[in-house]
């Protein structure tokens, strides 16, 4: 079976599962299934069918699993948002449409990701500008400054900055990897490359420290620093960058815990939420109670106890940062574990694309994107389950939020482009190779 037919098959399966989840919620709420509910379902299926047709036409050799996983995660998210606040599901549906549009534009205009390597410094500048703009223009929500309000929309620029910075670092590090991996001197027996190549490391460190102090957000700082350290390591294979980067970030985190009250609160609440059960620990404890209440199989979509009688969610921000708590409550341990495995599967496909890619830039780009995606998932699920301190970050494709879903659909488009090129270069026909060359 061709890659595209595999994709279509899995999309149909994902569509069937999504439809069942959605119908379950709809029936639970309205005690009936009517034409409107079916139309909503069909629109969702239609969006992913069109994306599939685009990939079939433009990227025929791309990985067949990423799009079905994306569709399933987005469907779970939309269903759960609809279940918590029906009005927001319509907005989220529109954002999904915008994200799909951006996906189409990325595929049609970029065509080949190798082109992006040429604009690496522009990408780096865009990423930096987005983060600086957030620090300067951002508004504080829940103690963290992650949002910019503009043109009637709330945008979370860090979601897009994440993509731009990965593109920049993939290009920059692929170029400089040799210089960065050759030791020129030793400090305390540790081989180190020339001091000037530490510049980017220090810039990244300063950036994440600034994010900690000005955005007051531990999660985004951890994400950016980790992306950087992971890419440095993958480019140079030198463990010294991981040790140094980890140490620098730990120092920055310690400073932030001591200096920034919001970060300090989050940290102490994480260590022991019980004395703060009614105040700063309320959200985290309610999240844990909601998750623990899910049991092994859960009550089913639309059947959990997620809303009080006055329609307020049992956990504040349930539809955004705490969407995983809602999912775990409704579909239980088995369902929640399946969702986590979907994220692992996504990450695995990303890394697989990286390993097979024929050139350094493609490898670093795919691995960087897959790593960013996986780590962001870990940070938010770990946060709401109290494995790590809680931070305001979205669960890719599932959480309510326009920036998150559009940025992550672009991420999928980029991974599909890398995998298409890889497969064409490795096993494609002459015709396909010529077409690819024509795109550059």
């Amino acid at each position: 079976m061709s890659r595209r037919n595999v994709e279509l098959l899995f999309l149909v399966i994902a569509g069937a599962v999504s439809t069942m989840a959605y119908v379950s919620v709809y029936a639970g709420r309205f005690r009936e299934i009517n034409r409107v509910s079916i139309i909503y379902g069909l629109v969702f299926v239609g969006i992913f069918f069109l994306l599939h047709l685009l990939v079939r036409f433009a990227l025929p050799q791309a990985d067949p699993f990423l799009l079905p996983i994306t569709a399933l995660l987005a469907a779970i998210g939309l269903t759960e948002i609809f279940r918590i606040r029906p009005a927001l599901a319509l907005t989220q549906g529109q954002w999904l449409l915008v994200g799909a549009g951006l996906f189409v534009l990325t595929v049609l205009f970029v065509r080949d990701h190798m082109k992006l390597d040429r604009y690496r410094y522009i990408m780096g500048a865009i990423g930096l500008a987005l983060l600086v703009a957030t620090i300067v223009l951002g508004t504080t929500v829940n103690g963290s400054k992650l949002w910019i309000h503009a043109f009637g929309f709330s945008i979370q620029p860090s979601e897009f900055a994440k993509l731009a910075i990965v593109i920049f670092l993939a290009g920059y590090l692929d170029d400089k990897k040799v210089l960065l991996s050759v030791p020129t001197h030793h400090v305390l027996g540790v081989p180190l490359p020339a001091a000037k190549y530490f510049g980017p490391l220090l810039v990244m460190w300063a950036l994440s420290l600034a994010m900690l102090i000005f955005m007051k957000d531990f999660g985004m700082a951890l994400l950016f620093m980790s992306i950087f350290v992971a890419l440095m390591y993958m480019a140079t294979t030198r463990i010294v960058y991981v040790v140094l980067g980890g140490g620098l970030f730990a120092a920055a985190a310690a400073i932030a815990v001591a200096v920034v009250p919001h970060v300090h609160d989050r940290f102490t609440t994480w260590l022991d939420p019980w004395p703060h059960a009614a105040t700063s620990g309320y959200q985290l404890l309610q999240s844990l109670f909601t998750i623990a209440d899910g049991g092994i199989v859960g009550a089913g979509f639309g059947r959990g106890f997620l809303l009080y009688a006055n329609r307020q969610p049992v956990v504040p921000d349930l539809q955004t940062d705490f969407i995983f708590s809602a999912v775990a409550n409704e579909i239980g341990l088995l369902g929640a574990a399946a969702v986590i495995l979907l994220f692992v599967l996504f990450m695995w496909r990303g890394f697989r694309i990286a390993v097979w890619a024929p050139d350094g830039f493609s490898k670093l780009l795919a691995a960087g994107l897959a790593f960013a995606f996986g780590l962001q998932t870990f940070i938010i699920i770990g946060g709401v389950t109290r494995l790590i301190p809680l931070t305001g970050i979205t669960l890719p494709f599932v959480s309510y939020g326009g920036s998150s879903i559009t940025a992550n659909l672009v991420l999928v488009a980029l991974l599909l482009m890398v995998s298409h090129r890889t497969n064409v270069v490795r096993e494609g026909t002459d015709l396909e190779r010529r077409r690819l060359a024509a795109r550059g």
């Binding site: 639970g28 992971a230 390591y233 993958m234 480019a235 294979t237 019980w274 059960a277 009614a278 404890l285 844990l288 109670f289 909601t290 998750i291 623990a292 209440d293 899910g294 049991g295 092994i296 009550a299 089913g300 639309g302 059947r303 106890f305 009080y308 009688a309 006055n310 049992v314 775990a328 239980g332 341990l333 929640a336 574990a337 986590i340 994220f343 692992v344 990450m347 695995w348 890394f351 990286a354 390993v355 350094g360 490898k363 691995a367 897959a370 790593f371 996986g374 780590l375 998932t377 870990f378 699920i381 770990g382 389950t385 109290r386 494995l387």
Partner: protein, 479 residues
Amino acid sequence: MNRAISRIFIVGVILFVALLVNLTWIMAGRAQWFADRPENKRGIAKEMRIKRGDILGFDGSTIAGSVRRSGYYYRDYPQGTLAPQLVGYDSVRYGRSGIEDELNDQLTGQSTDLGVQSWIDRLLGRKPKGASVQLTLVPAVQKEAQKALAGQKGAIVMLDPKTGALIASASAPTYDPANLEDDWARLSNDPGAPLLDRPTQGLYPPGSAFKVVTATSGLDYGKVTPDTKFIDTGTYVVFGGKVTNYGGAVFGPNDFTTALTYSINTTFAKVGNLLGRKRLVSSMQRFGFYQTPPLPLPQGGIVPSGRYGKTGLLSPDDFMDPLAVAWAACGQEQVLSTPLQMALVAAGVANGGRVMKPYYTQQIVAASGGVVQKAQPQQWLVAMKAATAAQLNTMMQRVVNAGTGTAAALEGIQVAGKTGTAERGDGTNLAWFIAFAPAEDPQVAIAVVIEDTQSTGGEAAAPIAAAVIKTALAQPSLP
């Protein structure tokens, strides 16, 4: 480069494995622990979305109903305050008590024995509906009992001696369950303890009312007959101490029936020592002393009667010298009883010696209309031979017709009873009256206790018992 990429992927997989392990720990390992945390109000909030079943009186009228306000159901009490200590409260802030607590699973429709409909409801994700509980409490009798106690401290328990059904259970001072949350601070600090269910949790020295137990023992073990002769000099000297009569009375020659009629302490002290500790305690046990009566109530909601020491209930084998036995036979010394236990004593005599299991649930009706549980009277204990019960019945009629209990006599209804007056040492008395009626075919058995009174059992408690018995026997039907 590929090796480094693989390593980073492995790091990612390890992180996700950590997520899965932690999630399993929360959702499977410690789920119950999280559910039981006091900070976790999910359970109560979930139950408040369920229409809680009604608690009904024996006549079918609502004692505790359910009203919906902004999505949640709250209790309301259309008949005002009716046996609130026994029925209990259901509060988000202060939890539950009494029957509301004991039968919570049925009232919220979560009990597994509520039948197929409840199971189907859960399968379809419909909210379960609570079953309604019909009690054996008769509201008209209950109201009469509460009225009789108004302004005093004390308790009234009325049972059907033939079934064990609880007809009335009043405790004073009382409270209004509708205002529980507003009044909580005052109620929980009130020295009169209005939240305490005196009938099942109040421990009082039973005084001379206990002589029914001593008489049972003496007759049943053949140590005395109703006609056994005694001579009272006003004082019975035993084991370096003495037993005297109430008010210093001297009765001279008396038989055992007369001794019960006028509550002669010296005679009962002598009978106590004729029996000895073992037989007296054994008779107590056969009435249910030294064990918690099987009335289904939450932990601590009902306490056993018996001899109490500094550390609580003493063992039935605890040593007693002859002076202690003599006073215990008169219901003093360290003997303590709940009003319910004394009502069970009266009921045992009334029912030919057989003590029925006390109960309060007439039936439980599921929301679908099906009866899921119906009262089935069961014998609990055999306190004495039927012949002994018949003799005691006659003797207790004499108490009401010619003795200390004449205030309990009713026109056209033969009441049999026994008074009790326990002196508390602070100048106040504890006034008791236990009785059953009609003596020839007992329909009700009652125990009345009044605290902090200057009067005797015959003066303070007997008229109350009579009034409640009269109301009860006037009812069209009793459990």
